[in-house]
Each structure stands twice: as C-alpha cells, then as structure tokens.
C-alpha cells in the first residue's frame, strides 16, 4: 500500500503512488487505477452493462406474463432449451429470470452502479480531498465487485440454470439442491458471488466513511457538507452495519447446503426422501436476510435522495429547504431502517406480538420520509426553475418516492399486509419507491455530473425524450400493478390462468408488458446519448449548472489529485443560491462554497456578518502581529 503524507498547511493528503499514476501505463491509469474518478466510471459502466442484462431479463418474463399463450419459439436462438418443445418459456427459466432480475437490479445496478459510482466520484470532489483515504482499497473494492460480477454472470450459463428461488433466496428452497434446478450450482455461484460483493461493498464503505471523517478540506465542517455527502456517508454506515449480517446468513446457508448442518432446516421430506435435518428454522434466515434486506432499500435509495437534493437546489436556484431537517430525516430513516425488518415477515408465522411492534416502527418511518418529500416540494416553491434533464429526473424521483412511499403505509399495516403480502401490490410499491426512484436518482446524477466526469455535455434534447418516456413508462408499468395486487395476484407466478380469481386481468397484464417493453427499449436513447456524448459531445464549461459545490472549482477534466494547486478552502454551506443582494457583491444567483464571507458583506445573513466580521478582525490582528509580535 502506498505511504501517505499529510500536508498540514493545506490539509492535503497526497499519495506518493499518485506520481506514478500520472505517468502510468494503460493498466494503471484505466484498469487498476487508484484514482477515485476512474473507479467511479468503472462502476458506472459496469452498472450500465448490468442494467442492460437485468432489464433484458425483465422483458423476457414480462413477455411470458403479458402473453402467456404466445408461441415463443422465436426466442429459442437466445434461450435455447429454456424454450420448451411446445414453444413455451420453461417454468424453471421463468423463476431464474425473476430471481436474477431482482439480484442484478438490487445489488449490481442500484447498489454498485449508483452508490459505487457517485460515492466514489463525489466524496473527494465535494469535500475537497485529493482522493479516497485508501486508493488501493478503493481499487480493490471495484475489482472484487468485478469478480462478483463475473461469477454471477457465469451462473447464468450453468447447465442447471441460475439461482431461482427469488432474490431473497429463502431456504429450504435455496438450501436443497433437489428442490429446484437453480438450487444446485447456480445457487452456489450466487452465494460465492455475494461473498465477493459484500467484501467489495465493505471495503468501499470503510473508505467512504474514513474519507469523509478525515479528509475534509479546511472549513468543510459536517454542517457545511453537501447533502450528497451526507447521504453517501450515512449509506456507508448502513452498509457496514448490515451487510455482515447477510454474510453470516449466507455462510450458515452454505453450511446447511454443503456440510450437513441444520441452521435453517428441519423436518424435510422431499423427492421421496426424508432428510436428516432437525431443529433448524427457515425463519431464522428470514430475520438475518431482512436485517440487511430492509436497510438495503435505503442503501439504494439514500444516495439517490442525496443526488436529488443537490440537483433540485441547483436547478431551482434556491437553497435546499430545511437542510438540517434533511440530514435529521436521513439519520432517522437510517436508524429506523434497522428496526423494521420484520415487516417483511408479518405472515411468516413469527409471533404476532412482534408484528405489532414492527407495524408501529414501520409506520414511524413515514414521518422522516414525509419531511423529505415536503422539503423537496418547498425547495421548488418560488424557485427559478431550470429544467435540465437532471432536474426532470429529480422531480420524477420525488413523484415516484411519494407514490411508492404512500403505498408503503398500507403494506406496513400488518392487518392489511395479510391480503397484500407477496402480491403485485408489493411489486408495484417497491418498484416505485426503491427501484424506479433510485434509478431516477442515478439518471439525475449521470446527467448532472457527466460534464465533470467526461468534460463533455450530454445532449439535453435526448435527455428530455429519455425522461418523459421513462417517467410515463414507470407509471404505466407499475401503477396498474396496484390494481392486480388488490385483486390478489401473487408475485412470481408463471401464469395466472389456473385460477379463476387471478385470470380477470389478462388485458392489464398485457398492457403492463407492452409498457415495460417500450420503457426498457427507450433506455437505449440514454445509452446512445451517454456514449455518443462521451466522445462527440460539446466541451463542458467549468461550471455548466452554476453550482456551488467544490467539484466545479476543479479543471474541466481534473487529473489525479483533483486540484492542480492547493485544495480549496470552504467558507459557507453549499446552498447559497439567490441570496438577497448577492448582485451587489458581484455574484449572480449563486455563491460557491470557496468564496469567503468577507467578500459578500452585502448578501451575508446577520449571523454570517458577525462571522465575517470576526474573520476579518482576526485576519487584521494576524497581519498586525506579523508586523509587531508584541501585540
């Protein structure tokens, strides 16, 4: 590992290895780079590739659900034996597709692709650091993720198929190879992949936390940090506290699968054979899984909310409303996320008293969530709103966050959950509040920070088309799912035609599938725009959105170390937009964080004037002391 030297005067951590990086070869500059910006791009490109695979799988099972009687022989070149002789999709492949879609989207796209990209990219840039606390660990974190990706990808091509017990991999289904074909080598690869993924996630999170705590530039107190950094910081803490529990759960599952233990297994008679497992409980796994699984919702969502806070404030040309309340609500959500996990288990057979407790705690989480939604809306109030694609995606996120969030109030009520649990109502809820909202946050982030990532502008027109298509598409796919959920449609069904009660919404299912095909296909507008703009886009101005945060004070394409000279010093919070009398101080509708308060006496608030005066007095005193040491 590289040695690190602390330059106290400039609060500057600089790695000796950085010098080698400047003059490194292709491998050290672009593949095994220590530079947080390169690693962020690696995460982003990987996330996009995974999104194509995960989205593609969703199209396959939506085709099955929308058109259950259709002949799918035309998919044989892609799916081979997964299309049966009668031209139908194989039922085991259907389950595998559903499982892998969930796994890929939750972990590989929305955790690694979103949090990995923007935590890496923005933390050093927005807190005024040269890089992450450990560049080596950061590089290792990405390559462990890449290894996890390769293993998970390999599982798609095993003869018995990938894991197919749902992304929650509940045992005994996941523990018994004879239970379902995907519980063989596919499940083993799933578990091995997740081990590497968790290791990657932990390395990343440790780095984010230590960087935020230790490497903030002069003046960047916690009270002056952008909400993006707060969200990444809190997300990293959640990850560190919850992922190890999933690791433990997976480890015990491996023991049950391979070494004859019975942590999760008891009284099993399967395939004509009585197994010698006794004394275990599948419910134990569910508790352990959801101890990660529920915070995972916020590991995915909080960074998206952080990015949105920044984008909405910048493009409304207003301070984010209730900065402290936003931080408080994120902390509240993070804390509560650890004590609501069993609302996923109201009908698992656990003690009903626990159901009461978890219903109470679950509904409390609506309060900080409501605070966030109201604060976003109030930020728009009397703003001067510029609709960049990033801004559109941010407003879209708030809408989806509200729509998906309010249905959570229904599901969090244990008595109502009895009817709705494991139906499409749940699918609609989490796809809106977590899946789509986080995806929109990711898109907002890409459109907003693309100029800083690649030194180029993305095409706004294509961005608008992309947004409206995706926004309408998200609602057209997921809103009707509430209806079929209320009708009781269970999730993960290959076909609904067996049941009279569930066969009434065939047309609506077809509609959802068509909307999904249009929406997913529409994402190629973004992919084209992304890669085209990367090479052919217009050169980006230094600060294209008129933003206050420190990343926009770097060169157009910052090198390793981010700032060529000394690190910037922070004097103010990041949301000084449209301050009264800023014009008189020579500023327009924004004052960057590195502008001293003493330069903006007209536009300072009363409190800031006092601080500016103190600063000014101290500066004068210092100067006089230099002249006369006896003062």
């Amino acid at each position: 590992m590289s040695s690190v030297v602390l330059d106290v005067e400039h609060n500057d951590v600089h790695s000796h290895d950085d010098h080698h990086e400047h003059h490194g070869n292709f491998w050290t500059n672009y593949v095994f780079s220590y530079d947080h910006k390169v690693i962020a791009k690696q995460y982003l490109i990987s996330g996009i590739l995974w999104a194509i695979i995960g989205g593609g799988l969703s199209l396959l099972f939506r085709i099955q659900l929308g058109f259950p009687e259709a002949n799918l022989e035309w998919l044989r070149p892609l799916l081979g034996d997964w299309i049966t002789e009668s031209g139908k999709m194989d039922t085991t492949f259907y389950l595998a597709a559903v499982t892998m879609h969930g796994t890929i989207m939750v972990f590989f796209v929305l955790t690694a692709g979103l949090s990995g990209t923007f935590s890496n990219f923005l933390i050093p840039l927005q807190i005024g650091a040269r890089d992450m606390a450990s560049g080596f660990m950061n590089m290792l974190s990405y390559w462990l993720f890449a290894l996890a990706s390769v293993i998970m990808l390999a599982s798609l091509f095993t003869s018995t198929g990938p894991a197919s017990g749902g992304w929650v991999i509940y045992p005994p289904l996941s523990a018994l190879p004879q239970a379902v074909s995907g519980s063989g080598i596919g499940m083993t690869l799933w578990l091995v992949s997740m081990v590497f993924f968790i290791a990657s996630s932990l390395l990343g999170s440790i780095n984010y936390i230590s960087t935020v705590i230790n490497l903030r530039t002069a003046g960047m107190s916690f009270a002056k940090m952008p909400l993006t950094i707060w969200s990444f910081f809190i997300t990293a803490v959640i990850g560190i506290l919850s992922f190890p529990v999933l690791f433990a759960a997976a480890l015990l599952l491996v023991f049950d699968r391979s070494f004859g233990t019975s942590f999760y297994l008891s009284d099993i008679y399967i395939q004509g054979e009585l197994l010698e497992h006794s004394g275990g409980s599948p419910i134990l796994f569910q508790h352990l899984f959801w101890f990660l699984g529920h915070p995972e919702v916020y590991i995915v969502l909080l960074p998206a909310l952080g990015l949105t806070s920044e984008v909405i404030s910048t493009n409304s040309r207003k301070p984010i409303f209730g900065y402290r309340a936003m931080i408080g609500s994120m902390l509240g959500i993070a804390f509560l996320s650890f004590i609501v996990w069993a609302h996923h288990m109201f009908v698992s057979g656990m003690n009903p008293f626990l159901g009461t407790i978890f219903m109470f705690l679950t509904l409390i989480i609506a309060v900080p969530s409501a605070v966030k939604a109201f604060n976003y809306i109030t930020t728009l109030f009397r703003g001067n709103i510029v609709f960049t694609p990033a801004m559109l995606f941010s407003i879209g996120l708030v809408s989806l966050f509200i729509s998906g969030g309010v249905t959570g109030i229904i599901l969090g009520n244990s008595a109502l959950d009895i009817q709705l649990h494991d139906t499409y109502f749940v699918v609609a809820h989490f796809h809106l509040v977590m899946g789509s909202a986080a995806f929109f946050g990711m898109m907002a982030g890409v459109y907003h920070w693309f100029p800083k990532m690649f030194g180029k502008m993305m095409n706004s027109g294509l961005g608008y088309v992309h947004f409206w298509l995706t926004f309408l598409g998200a609602y057209m796919v997921f809103f009707p799912m509430h209806y079929i959920g209320i009708a009781g449609f269970p999730r993960r069904y290959y076909s609904f035609t067996n049941f009279d009660a569930f066969s009434t919404f065939a047309d609506l299912n077809a509609f959802i599938s068509i909307a999904a095909i249009v929406t997913v296909t529409g994402q190629f507008i973004f992919i084209f725009n992304f890669f085209w703009s990367m090479f052919r886009g217009k050169n980006a101005p230094l600060n294209p959105w008129g933003s206050n945060t420190l990343e926009w004070t770097t060169p157009r394409k910052p090198g390793h170390g981010n700032w060529p000279g000394a690190l910037p010093i922070v004097y103010r919070w990041p949301y000084d937009y449209s301050k009264p009398d800023a014009d008189k101080d020579g500023f327009g509708d924004f004052i960057p964080q590195d502008v001293p308060l003493s330069k903006t006496m007209e536009s300072n608030t009363d409190e800031e004037r006092v601080l500016a005066q103190l600063d000014s007095d101290l500066q004068k005193l210092g100067e006089e002391r230099e002249k006369n040491p006896f003062i």
């Binding site: 259907y94 005994p172 289904l173 239970a179 297994l265 009284d267 099993i268 009585l274 004394g279 409980s281 419910i283 409304s316 301070p319 409303f321 009461t356 109470f360 509904l363 609506a366 309060v367 409501a370 605070v371 109201f374 728009l380 009397r382 703003g383 001067n384 709103i385 510029v386 609709f387 809408s399 309010v406 109030i409 008595a415 649990h421 494991d422 027109g461 608008y464 409206w468 298509l469 309408l472 598409g473 609602y475 009707p480 209806y483 009708a487 269970p490 993960r492 076909s495 067996n498 049941f499 009279d500 009434t504 609506l508 509609f511 068509i514 249009v518 217009k538 937009y577 449209s578 009264p580």
Partner: protein, 342 residues
Amino acid sequence: MTTALLIATGIILIVAVLALVYRIINLVGIAKEDSNKVTFSNKINGALFPILLVVGLGLIYWSYNDASQYFLPEAASIHGKETDALFNITLGVVFAAFVVTHLLLFTFPFFFQYSEKRKADFYPHNDKLEIAWTAVPAIVMAVLVIFGWRAWADITAPASDSALQVELMGKQFAWEIRYPGKDLKLGKYDVANIDNTNSMGIDFDDVNANDDFMAREIVLPVGKEVELKIRAIDVIHSVFLPHFRVKMDAVPGMPTRFKFTPSITTSEMRTKTNNPKFNYELACTEVCGYGHFGMRRIVKIVSQAEYDEWLMKQKSWLEKNPDYMATWEAKKAEKDAVAQAR
C-alpha cells in the same frame, strides 16, 4: 381493457411527439449558438407537469373505476370485511396525501419556471412549517397504527375451543387437506411417517388420528370459526385464500395457524357475482419451485346442514386404506428392532 391499451399507447405516442418537438426546438437553439441560455424547452417541460397532473388524475379516476369491477369481490370472512374497511380508509388517507403533494409538485414547476426577470426566494428554512409537517404525518400514522393494531390483535388472537380445525400441508406442488373425525381432534403427525400411502405422515399411534380423513376440497360451514393448522414438508409455501383475506406461510418444521370465519357461502357468492361457476380458491404465495403457480384447491363454503351432510359421507383415512395398519405395525416393529440393536 383493450380500449385502455389503445388510449395509453396513444398517450405514449403523443408525449413522444411532444418530446421530439422540443428536441427540434433545442437543436434550433444549438444552431443559433444559444445553448447556454435557458431555451423554450424550459417552458414546455414546465407545462408538461401540470398537463400530466390533470391527465394522470383523470386516468387514475377512469382506470380505477374500470379496474375495480375485477378486484376481489366483497370479503367472504368476518375479519376480511374489517380489514377491507381499514384498507379503504387507509387508501383514502394515502390517496389524499398523494393528490395534495402531486398538486404542489407538478404545478410549482409550471408557476416557478425560469425567468431572467426574476430571482428565486432565499428561503432556507421555516421551523414552524417543518414542525407542522412532521407532526401531522406522525398523528395520522398514530391513528392508523391504533386501528391496525386492533385489527391485527383480533385476527391473530387464539381460536376458540369450538373452532373447526382443518390441517393444510404444503408440498411441491400440491396441498394436502386433513380433517378431524368425529372426535373433532386432529391426530399427531411426523414427517418420518411419510410414505407412498401416508402422504401427510399421520401418526396412527395417536388414537385421535384414527378417524381423521383427508379431502380433495376444503369444505367449510358458513358462520363457523375455522382454525387452519398449517405446515409444509419440503420448502416454504404460503396458504392464500384471497376471498377470505387469509394468508399464512407453511413452514417446514414450524407449524403455523390462521383462524377465520367464512361469512358468505359459495352459492351466495355465485349469485352476488352473477357467475354460476364461481369457486373460492386456495393458492400458494411463497415461491416454492417451478410448479408454484399451479398449487390450486377449491374451497366450498356451505350451510351447516350441507356441511353435516358432507361430513357424514366422508370415510376416515384408515377406512380408505384398510391394509395400512398392518404396514404401520410392521414398520414400527422394524424401527423398534433397529433401536434395540443400537
């Protein structure tokens, strides 16, 4: 629904055309080297939000009315009616929150879109406002928690001693159904007893099991409390009786239970739904393998008299399998011998 499909597809196309229009406008802006300036597309985007609000709320109103005829019919259990009422109240509350927030979220972009002549407000916080919108959701949640807790407590309370016990056992990919005989007591079971004949592993050393019988359909008397005793033998399944608002996982090694009181007979529901072929159904809602979607059983709710008549016709499992006790004794002797040898 086909109409819905066409309308929705039309809306997508209209929006796509609108988007393309301001794509062209944007390109014109680029041609004029005007790209740094906020262009006309800002106005279009600002206007599209309130348009979407009006069109969206209209679509929600229309689609809900259209789709609600296909929702599950009136709950056919006593607690189901209570939870449906709670669901409707909660839905009303959250829909109001949804409408109010979206009214603001989608009109502010129109009213406060960019203008060179205007400067945004510097409005970083308002403590009273923030306290208000923290307190209001908290109070609403508290009320919902109280109602929810009361319903949950009623639903999950132990069944009365007079409740009819019925055992449901999930396995890949079917449900097995067992009733107590005349003694009204279900006999014990053990997975170790399962064989080709005794698929539920009934323990015939327990005298209570001697008159137990298995059925192909679940038949229940209306108005009588029923306690479902639920278990599984391979993987997790989940008992779902949608019309009765009943759901409970079937977990290997951990028996579960759910009590409910059917309130509408099958024939009454056939009249209500105007569907002579209507049947209540039992489904599985916990993914359990490739046949998950096929775990269907019919549930019949009948009058007490019809139920008594049906009950009289049922033969106990042992009556249907008269040779089994010989096998049972032989297996038992074999087990005892193995145990003694150890």
